[in-house]
């Protein structure tokens, strides 16, 4: 049984500018289940945005395929909403029009008033109300622009939401509010979320599963860490959970040390690169028999 979103033997090479080739990643293979919230963590330049562009259908991989819901991804679609790393707002349109642009594309049958009402609602959800929504993106702060871009993607209820460091430019307070909004929107639907971030705590708060990438070139999605903290999670309460620091330490260890150690080796050609599933759970002294899949568990006792 294939997962809902299946990434199969994805390889991406770019010309390196010196006549040679730069292999960003090779034969990357992993899956995302329907309704799952997956976060990918990795150092700058390892190829996260490249993977996301391929998932969005905006870029073609050198080889390999992405299959969503049994259909191969060929080109972009309204079912896959993207929040771009650089916001990608249209600078000649007002904030509101940047959102109505997307909503009108999604719902061509709606009246203008309906489109505006829907867009205004989502802008308010990310804290943009009143006069601000009639300003041009150039007249907004970096964080406000990012929120417009988030509102544009959320308003369209895509089946798969692709978020490339969506909260990078936000202050801690706004970030928290929008994280909560994201969880609310995601929780109420069948939406699948694939998100890139550099923030470990954000990843633990939001994710069902964290994919860890080694440094490039020849980056690998090396591990898939299950977040064994029950939902609903709150920022203040999760740190009390016995699994929190165990998971956090594991992630810090990986990003700080092992991402470097594991990087740079080309794989045997043709070998499929699957992440090792990691489950860290200190609350279960006797593991649930259902979860006891030999070879799929690595219990970290630190």
């Amino acid at each position: 049984m294939k997962p809902y979103l299946s990434i199969e033997n994805l390889t991406q090479r770019f010309p390196d500018g010196k006549g040679g080739e730069l292999t960003v990643f090779e034969n990357a293979t992993f899956g995302v289940e329907k309704g799952e919230f997956v976060v990918i963590l990795g150092h700058s330049g390892c190829g996260k945005s490249t993977i996301m562009n391929i998932l969005a259908g905006l870029a073609e991989p050198t080889s390999g395929a992405v299959v969503m819901d049994g259909q191969e991804v060929k080109g972009p679609s309204l079912d896959r909403g993207v929040v771009f790393q650089n916001y990608s707002l249209l600078p000649w349109l007002s904030t509101l029009k940047n959102v109505t642009f997307g909503v009108a594309a999604r719902h061509p049958e709606w009246t203008k008033a309906e489109v505006i009402a829907h867009s205004t609602k989502y802008l308010a959800m990310v804290g943009l109300e009143g006069d601000v929504i009639h300003r041009k993106p150039s007249q907004l702060s970096g964080g406000m622009r990012q929120r417009v871009s988030i509102a544009r993607a959320f308003a369209n209820h895509p089946k798969l939401l692709l978020l490339d460091e969506p909260f990078g430019a936000l202050d801690a307070l706004t970030r928290g509010t929008i994280q909560d909004e994201l969880l609310k929107i995601w929780g109420g639907t069948e939406q699948t979320v694939f998100m890139i971030t550099h923030d470990i705590d954000e990843a633990i708060l939001l994710a069902d599963r964290i994919l860890l990438m080694t440094n490039g070139p020849f980056a690998r999605v090396a591990e898939s860490v299950e977040i064994t903290i029950p939902r609903p999670r709150s920022r203040t309460e999760i740190i009390e959970h016995p699994n929190y620091y165990a998971i956090r330490n594991h992630l810090v260890q990986f990003l700080g040390k092992r991402s470097k150690e594991l990087s740079g080796q080309p794989m045997d050609s043709g070998a499929t690169n699957r992440p090792a599933p990691i489950r860290i759970d200190k609350t279960e002294p006797t593991p649930d028999p259902e979860d006891l899949r030999p070879g799929l568990r690595a219990v970290v006792n630190s």
């Binding site: 969005a56 600078p91 000649w92 999604r106 041009k136």
Partner: protein
Amino acid sequence: MTGLSLNKRAAILSFILLIAGLLIWEAAIPAQKAVGELTEYEILTGAGVPKAGVPPPSEVLVKAWEQLSNPFYDAGPNDKGIGIQIGYSIYRVLTGYALAAFVAIPLGFLIGMSPVAYKALNPFIQVLRPISPLAWMPLALFIIQDSEASAIFVIFICSIWPMLINTAFGVAGVRADWVNVARTHELNPLKTAFTVILPAAAPTIVTGMRISIGIAWLVIVAAEMLVGGTGIGYYVWNEWNNLDLTSVIFSILMIGVVGMLLDALFGLLQRRVAYVE
């Protein structure tokens, strides 16, 4: 500092420069002696006949007042008001210009979007562009057999290049991110062209249009001197043949004023389509 704003101070300075310039011009023209003061020798050598000298600004102003108070009179083929003459010129410029825009902007889009079209058309553009528009005139007159249409053709051919090149350049330079936004929203190519690429490239396109209208206005004067009949260029030439230098100077000023207005119009449009990234 003075309490006046920068604009006010600049306006005062402009006004002073204008007055000073006019006064120097007026003073530099030697006054013509009245007939009674002429010596016998001067009368015999014909020096007393009013000479076609450069007129002083006061005369030009009187002429301007006279012309502008009745700009649209029509007293036969060689005696029409300045308004009518300028009207003819503007009509030719706008017709040729509109035709050029009609061809250049879609073609520029194509060249900007398609590297193949760019490579295929580039050699033609490079050869045709540096040709002086007036060099086409004899060929145009021969083929079209109509001086009016030939003048319009010359305007067409001179205004097409800046618009074509700027449109292609603007369209090719549209940021991939913005096109990606259109793609993730599944806009069809036509919708993408109108809602993303056109507004994104508009500042560059309008700059090309502004350069084109400037060139067209430069060229129409020369073209009308060649084809004759009507128009401000013909008017200048005709007044020169009449040795009416006052009218020549006045019409030169009018050419400048109309050119400035055309440019200002496109400046306005340019401000409308500008955006800050």
